[in-house]
């Protein structure tokens, strides 16, 4: 087992814990924007897609890389934009807000 892999496991477990701890406190009112925002973050696979597209050789790798970038980009741009659209609508009672 490589050093990178075991480091990856450490990072994975720690990040999962951070995720659990933060999300546990999200009020139900924000569950939908949270999910679409988190969804956009899972588009981080765009990084892998770019690497695959850059380093792959041959037609098959090119096609897979291209599709991966397209799919991930839909996820990233769509996810962040739609979350912003939703959150724009959340307003406090007028007068109560500062």
């Amino acid at each position: 087992m490589s050093q990178e892999f075991i480091q990856g496991v450490v990072v994975f477990v720690l990040a999962s814990f951070v995720g659990f701890e933060i999300i546990r406190r999200v009020p139900p009112t924000l569950h939908t924007p949270l999910m679409s925002g988190a969804n956009a973050i899972s588009g981080i696979t765009i990084v892998g897609a770019i690497i695959a597209a850059a380093t792959g050789s041959g037609i098959a790798a090119g096609v897979l890389g291209f599709l991966a970038v397209v799919f991930a980009m839909i996820n990233v741009i769509g996810g962040f934009l739609v979350t912003d659209r939703m959150l724009e609508m959340f307003k406090k009672v007028p007068g109560k807000s500062r």
Binding site: G37, N39, G65, V69, N75
Partner: protein, 468 residues
């Protein structure tokens, strides 16, 4: 100890920065006040990760061919345009299916990244990398087709009702078992054909697993697929040894898992029960339901009760979302508030078609978020509430959840609307809700049944209030 080059250190730090921005962004999403900023910080994190990756690839001369540049640029433009188009055009009521679709694209992208590794390496993958590659392919593929089916159901392309697959849950177990065997074979033999076989089985499993799940269970399914899209990204991260994917994927995997557990608790069912069985409730016969007497209300009756109340609690349900009556309910609230009535909203965790969906719909109709109460906030208030207006909800207000141990919803957290002086239920008919059980609340003394489409009922009631 292997010394890292300067560029390798920079890229590692850039990914760390992106990870921190994701975490701070998610933290921002925990409060309505900071949520928008949080989302934007996460977006900045993504930009940092993307730019750093491209710069790194150029610096180490991995990204030099025109073809590679063209593929990446075209992919970013095409994907970005599709994403922006979908995000800017979507109606709030259609949000669940859009999120489902985005989950699918995310999972699909991760599976494609892992595919590229399988295609691109002739060398034997180390066992642990083989395992994460297979997991990324399998989870990503299930997420892709499962999300597409969820999308089709929510969009009404195929019926929302559970679709029985031949053989039932056993078929899914067989497909999952086969997939596992083929995946293990792939890892052991490093055979691309076996990886593709496992992926194909996963694609099928996504379809057969989601098809039998009913529309009302979709909140759980979307949450789970959300979690899967994160896990697939994290697994792909192990395969290509990329920390950014591992961090981002783990965060999303954990977030989705929490929501999934929340939802299944709110529906009083285990995740296994939702995924692997049709709902096994005892269905009350139509005869039994039709014969009991109920007190009927007209728009005028509702208007009088609501107008002379001090505290009104609106309980919006699935029926309100389907009828797109969020603007009508806001209109009614405004009319009542003009008369000095205090109007608040009690929202059950599974009220809409995805977690928090009802809140988004009401926010769209300009209902301030501090008027939206969750289960724990609203239950103590029903005792001081004069009138509860239930719109298109049934199981989530059924008191048998407290009283009848034999009921399939026994133990499910419900809104205790029976504590209020008067309950007005707007509903199309007396037909039982999703769980297929009768609701004794409908026959209680303090309950009035207003049989109508949600939107029409609210509009008529607004008219009646204004005429008082």
């Amino acid at each position: 100890m292997i010394e890292l080059t300067f560029t390798e250190v920079i890229i590692a730090l850039a990914y760390l920065a992106a990870g921190i921005l994701f975490i701070v962004g998610l933290k921002g999403l925990t409060s309505p006040r900071t949520a928008r900023k949080g989302n934007r910080m996460a977006a900045v994190g993504m930009l940092v990760a993307i730019v750093a990756t491209i710069v790194f690839l150029v610096a180490v001369e991995e990204l030099s061919s025109t073809t590679a540049w063209a593929i990446i640029a075209a992919g970013i433009v095409v994907g970005g345009a599709i994403g922006a188009f979908l995000a800017l055009r979507v109606q709030m009521v259609d949000m669940p299916q859009l999120v489902a679709a985005f989950n699918g694209f995310g999972g699909g992208a991760s599976a494609l990244v892992a595919s590229a590794v399988v295609v691109g390496t002739d060398a034997l993958l180390p066992t642990e990398i083989g395992v994460t590659t297979a997991l990324s392919l399998a989870i990503g593929a299930v997420t892709l087709t499962g999300s597409m089916i969820a999308y089709a159901k929510l969009q009404g392309l195929i019926g929302g009702k559970p679709v029985a697959i031949p053989g039932g849950p056993a078929t899914n177990a067989v497909i999952a078992g086969l997939m596992l065997i083929v995946a293990v074979f792939a890892v052991v033999t490093n055979s691309p054909a076996a990886y593709w076989g496992a992926t194909a089985l996963a694609l099928v499993l996504g379809v057969t697993a989601v098809l039998p799940i009913g529309g009302a269970d979709m909140p759980v399914v979307i949450s789970l697929l959300n979690s899967f899209s994160g896990l697939a990204a994290a697994m792909a991260g192990f395969t290509i040894e990329n920390q950014a994917l591992i961090i981002g994927g783990a965060l999303v995997g954990a977030a989705g898992m929490i929501l999934t557990l929340d939802m299944s608790v709110a529906m009083n069912r285990s995740i296994a029960n939702i995924l692997f069985s049709g709902f096994g409730g005892t269905v009350a016969s139509d005869e039994e339901i039709g014969t009991k007497p109920v007190k009927r209300a007209t728009a005028e009756d509702a208007a009088i009760a609501l107008s002379y109340a001090q505290n009104v609690m609106v309980v919006p349900g699935y029926g309100l979302a389907v009828a797109q009556a969020q603007h009508a309910v806001k209109e009614l609230a405004t009319a009542l508030e003009k008369r000095g009535v205090n109007v608040e909203y009690a929202i059950h965790p599974v009220a809409g078609r995805m977690p928090g969906h009802m809140n988004v719909l009401l926010a769209e109709a300009d209902v301030p978020y501090d008027k939206l109460l969750d289960l724990d906030q609203s239950n103590p208030k029903f005792g001081h509430t004069d009138v509860v207006l239930v719109i298109g909800a049934n199981d989530v207000i059924n008191p048998v959840a407290h009283t009848d141990e034999n009921s399939p919803i026994y133990g499910m957290p419900v809104l205790d609307v029976e504590d209020a002086a008067t309950v007005i239920v707007v509903k199309r008919s007396l037909s039982p809700g999703f769980a297929g059980i009768d609701n004794p609340l409908f026959y209680q003394d303090g309950t009035m049944m207003f049989f109508s489409d949600a939107k029409k009922a609210l509009e008529d009631t607004v008219k009646a209030v204004n005429e008082l």
